[in-house]
Amino acid sequence: MLGKLIGYETKAFGRIMVPLYIAMLAFALFTGLSIRFVPEDIMQGLPGVLIGMLYGVLMMAIIIMTCVLSVTRFYKNLLGQEGYLMFSLPTDTATLIVSKVISVLIWTGFSTIVAFMAIALSALGAGGIEAFRELLHFFRHPEILQHLSQISGVLILTVLMIIAGTAASIVRIYAGIAIGHQFNDHRILFSIVALIAFNIIGTIWSTLLSTFGFYTGVFESLSRIFEADTVQGICIAQTGMIGVLLFQVALFGILTWVLLDRRLNLE
């Protein structure tokens, strides 16, 4: 059932995001070709400025639409009128919530890939195939490869941290929306109030954790490890951060589940 739900979400996201991706990639290539073939004096004038602006607008549109859809798909599909259908499916509430979170992670990943592809296409358009060869050559350089292998642990943990951070942010927003839906009026306002309250509690919690880390000597030990082996120090700090983020995912996930399963208040 989880796979089917993710597939359905993919379709719902895709009908809006795919045309945006195609527009972005096509425009990125056009921008690159313009840089290559249009005389420099024209590109430095108004047409160049407009192309640059449009490029920026499309990139922003992808980022904003990914964020907007991540929230509205949850809000409309589960707590709006469509919620009557979704909560009538023969599955449990937890599966519905998990499908939303995984879909957001997938589409955030797609948007990131498309952003990088757009930059690569601009470079390809501007510099031709030669530019790509040079880039590949750079990454094949023995010193670069050796350096990358040394920090591979940090890179993998960074990716995991970004995934856990995105999941924690989105589940926190879902919990805020679920709290807002406990009220019959001003639901969006109460959702925002709940999110502000989460931020305040989060800040207090971070301060308490820092104080705990300082007085128990955890920071001192970490700093000694960091001085002795920087990479190992970063890895330990990242692992700790991932743990904290996963704890947040669990905490806000359970709160969202309780509110949607036990105190559902559909329109």
Binding site: E82, S88, P90, L264
Partner: protein, 234 residues
């Protein structure tokens, strides 16, 4: 066989009592009218049966099970609003129902849509309100469910559509299924009802066989309803 059972079932919204300790048993193979004025607790009872709400106290079971994923697999629910994704067209909706409801019968849905002349790749949001309501009913009745919960299926539609909806309910529910129709338009549904449950201020005022009620009172269900509710209103 008991298909829907409520024991001392209560639901409060804050200080408002929507349902007050009701006891009710509905058998399979019956078409039951759940009638009562606005705010009498009809929709609350249906939402509790579909686990869209949880009881404040008491128990509700469907086929002996507490409402949850297992009961949703055997209950086909029609809410009193546009609940289908408006961006989907009929083909996408067919795929959706086929994917998520194992008891969905696509051939039955296709036949009904054909008979209605609804087709094409138009999204639901672009269809007229009447057509959307028919489509919602068709998809609800195209499941081979054990229980059909129909919340105000004929409210706000024209008389021709009402006839179509009632014919669709009659000709498409499985004979071993329980059909619970919530409505305040009793005249229209009266001909198809086997039983009637009168709700008033969250309590069951009457639960009786439709023919027995007509015979006992010498009135139609609608006539009796109007008379009794006028008294209760006073």
């Amino acid at each position: 066989m008991s298909m829907l059972e409520c024991t001392a079932l209560s639901k409060n919204y804050g200080s408002v009592e929507a349902l007050r300790s009701i006891d009710l048993t509905l058998e399979s193979g019956r078409i039951v009218g759940l009638v009562g004025p606005n705010g009498s607790g009809k929709t609350t009872l249906i939402k509790l049966a579909q686990h869209l709400l949880t009881p404040t106290s008491g128990v509700i079971t469907i086929d002996g099970m507490i409402p949850g994923p297992q009961t949703k697999a055997i209950v086909s629910y029609l809410p009193d609003r546009d609940f289908l994704p408006q961006w989907m067209n009929l083909d996408e909706l067919m795929t959706f129902y086929h994917d998520f409801f194992p008891d969905f019968n696509p051939a039955k849905a296709a036949d009904m849509l054909d008979a209605l002349g609804v087709s094409g790749r138009q999204p639901l949001g672009k269809m007229s309100k009447g057509t959307r309501e028919k489509v919602q009913l068709i998809f609800t009745m195209s499941r081979e469910a054990k229980v059909y919960l129909l919340d105000e299926p004929i409210a706000g539609v024209d008389p021709a559509t009402r006839d179509y909806i009632l014919r669709t309910i009659l000709s498409n529910y499985s004979e071993n299924a329980l059909v619970l129709i919530s409505t305040h338009l009793i005249t229209d549904v009266e001909p198809i009802l086997d039983e009637v449950v009168f709700l008033q201020k969250g309590t069951i005022e009457l639960h009786e066989n439709a023919d027995a009620l007509r015979e006992r009172t010498g009135k139609s269900i609608d006539g009796y309803f109007r008379e009794v509710y006028r008294c209760w209103g006073n």
